[in-house]
């Protein structure tokens, strides 16, 4: 805008700053808390300035964790979370891209039936089907494994539905032009559909990654081996001790928050690029 109204500017900035402060403050507190000496956080007053035990706390959390709380080192837990979240994300994206491709571009019997079948599963989140799913996973001997952690969460009606809606906005002539140009279905998918969906893929990647990263209930019931503890589970276990070591918990929290932020930062470039380069 080309308006010049100092008061409006001032007001706008004040609102923005207050908003940002509200969001940033708890994060700041977590950072501060993770640098305090043991026992500092249970005295009743929350320090507002960083302490001097940051490196010590983070090193301990990263390397050994809290064995009394049955939570292993943060390095292992972060790795577990990362593998699970990536497997879920990549799995969800590939399956939903392929099923949306099938539903939009192929005419087969019961096409709409299958579409609605997928759509209906939107109404069945993990929590609803958790007992039968557990039974299936247990029978397949997938307890305490990455397969058990990720495969049951991979099917995604949401992503399938979104990709279907997106594919339907691509002009039919694009497919026809590709057919005249000698591209078969898979070539069309790879050369035209995937590059055009890159924005949607990036956005869904972020959402799915965070969804996978934040999984709590499922990993909790499916794993008993500490080698498969995820960071979210680990934090929960540390806080349910009799005397939680809050400075270490906070260090774990800060570390747990970083990967999603990194994923967003990385993907953001893709979807900002995608948004500004959309055709028409």
């Amino acid at each position: 805008m080309v308006e010049n109204r100092p008061w409006a500017n001032f007001f706008a900035h004040t609102v923005l700053i207050i908003g940002v402060a509200l969001v940033i403050f708890p994060v700041y507190i977590a950072l501060v808390a993770s640098t305090q000496a043991p026992g500092e956080l249970v005295r009743g007053t929350l320090p507002l300035l960083p302490g001097h035990h940051g490196i010590e706390n983070y090193t301990q959390m990263w390397q050994s964790g809290i064995s009394t709380a049955n939570s292993p080192s943060a390095a292992l837990m972060l790795w577990n979370s990362f593998v699970m979240a990536m497997a879920i994300t990549v799995g969800k994206l590939s399956i939903s891209l392929l099923s949306a491709f099938a539903i939009v571009y192929f005419r087969f019997r019961f096409r709409m039936f299958f579409f609605w079948l997928i759509f209906v599963t939107l109404m069945l989140p993990v929590e609803v089907r958790i007992i039968p799913t557990f039974q299936v996973v247990a029978d397949l001997n997938m307890l305490n494994s990455f397969a058990g952690l990720s495969i049951p969460l991979i099917a995604s009606a949401t992503a399938t539905f979104l990709f279907r809606q997106f594919f339907m906005t691509i002009p039919e002539e694009m497919l026809e032009a590709a057919r005249v140009d000698g591209a078969g279905p898979l070539k069309f998918f790879k050369d035209i559909l995937l590059p055009l969906s890159i924005t949607n893929i990036a956005a869904l990647f972020v959402i799915m990654f965070i969804y996978g990263w934040n999984q709590y209930l499922w990993p909790l019931i499916i794993t008993t081996d500490p080698n498969y503890t995820t960071i979210v589970m680990g934090i929960q276990r540390m806080t349910s001790e009799e005397n939680p070591q809050w400075q270490l918990v906070m260090a774990a929290v800060v570390m747990a928050a970083l990967p999603p932020v990194l994923v967003i930062l990385f993907m953001q470039r893709l979807f900002v690029k995608g948004l500004t380069e959309t055709e028409k």
Partner: protein, 352 residues
């Protein structure tokens, strides 16, 4: 290059909708044929059947000597230019042109060479590295043509390629398409609803209506001797005037209309065959009132209401009309300019 033969081509959609009701047509090698008709007449469906984008319900389609009914579009050796261009938005112009060649396994040098030649021909060399969205409508149109050109196919299929352009650009591209086709001598099938585009582009026109061929012929043949009432009304702008024989006979003092072919109950008269001064040949004279005068520069269109008739009529003259709006106007129709039709069959009644 090849001829295209359509034998009894039919398209029936589910629900027994007959979009194309049996088309027989032979397109010579190197010929430029235009399919023209109002929207919904099946012209696009027909083109898409030739392209292989629609299945053929019945009939035989040959490109060259090959029956291609069941072949995929890519195997038919045709190239198509779409109405909305259908350029791949994420690829550079170069890759848009090269994509079809890559899929056919051409080697890099050959692709490069062909793309350069096509780009030069269409004057889009400087845009080769750009994405389609950075191009204007006319440039996109050229890229779409280029994509067809690089393949050096047996036939070009055009599906209303100019309808997204503004009027001036449309005329320019029309000329370029025509010149290009003259130069390459590639068999071309072109679909349009614009009768002017059809007249100016085609070696031959195929006028379609309701899934059937109304008339096939050179533009001038069709203009001079429309075979049906539909063609008469569709080709030519302003449209041909239709007057009932009974009305004209009432104005006819000299018995000029006595020898009209049997069955004639309506006659068509082109707006340019109506004169404001009496011609030297045998003619009819009709009185009317000038309702509206439309100046179009080199010519004027006079909308007149005939005396004792509701039939709206248009006359085309050069320059200004001699009278003002609301005044009476007498015009003259040469006897030889009448196109006799039978309104029940819709057919022309004289066949000479």
């Amino acid at each position: 290059m090849a001829s295209i033969t359509l034998e009894g081509l039919k398209k029936t959609y589910t629900g027994n909708v007959n979009a194309v009701k049996g088309i027989d047509l032979h397109i010579e090698d190197g010929e430029f044929v235009v399919l023209v008709g109002p929207s919904g007449c099946g012209k696009s469906t027909l083109l898409r059947m030739v392209a292989g984008l629609e299945t053929i319900t019945e009939g035989t389609l040959k490109i060259g000597e090959r029956v291609v009914n069941k072949l995929e579009p890519a195997e038919r050796d045709i190239a198509m230019v779409f109405q909305n261009y259908a350029l791949y938005p994420h690829m550079s112009v170069y890759n848009n042109l090269a994509y079809g060649l890559k899929n056919r396994g051409f080697n890099k040098d050959e692709i490069e060479q062909r793309v350069r030649i096509a780009a030069k021909m269409l004057e889009i060399e400087e845009f080769l590295e750009r994405k389609p969205r950075k191009l204007s409508g006319g440039q996109r149109q050229r890229v779409a043509m280029g994509r067809a050109l690089v393949r050096e196919p047996a036939a070009f299929l055009f599906d209303e390629p100019l309808s997204n352009l503004d009027a001036k650009l449309r005329v320019q591209m029309r000329v370029e398409i025509k010149q290009l086709q003259r130069r390459l001598r590639t068999t071309s099938l072109y679909v349009t609803h614009d009768q002017l585009e059809a007249m100016t582009l085609g070696d031959r026109l195929v006028v379609l209506n309701a899934g059937q061929i109304e008339q096939v012929g050179t533009p001038m043949e069709i203009y001079a001797r429309p075979a049906t009432l539909f063609v008469a009304g569709f080709i030519g702008s302003p449209a041909m005037n239709m007057l009932s024989v009974d009305y004209l006979k009432a104005q006819d003092a000299n018995g000029l209309l006595d020898n009209l072919p049997a069955g004639t109950d309506i006659v068509g008269i082109r707006p340019d065959d109506m004169h404001l001064t009496p011609p030297a040949v045998p003619h009819l004279a009709v009185d009317s009132t000038l309702a509206l005068f439309e100046a179009a520069g080199a010519e004027s269109h006079l909308y007149v209401t005939l005396a004792n008739s509701e039939q709206p009529t248009v006359i085309r003259v050069s320059g200004q009309p001699p009278v003002a709006e609301g005044e009476t106007l007498r015009f003259y129709i040469p006897r030889e300019a009448l196109h006799p039709f039978d309104s029940t069959t819709g057919k022309r009644t004289n066949t000479f």
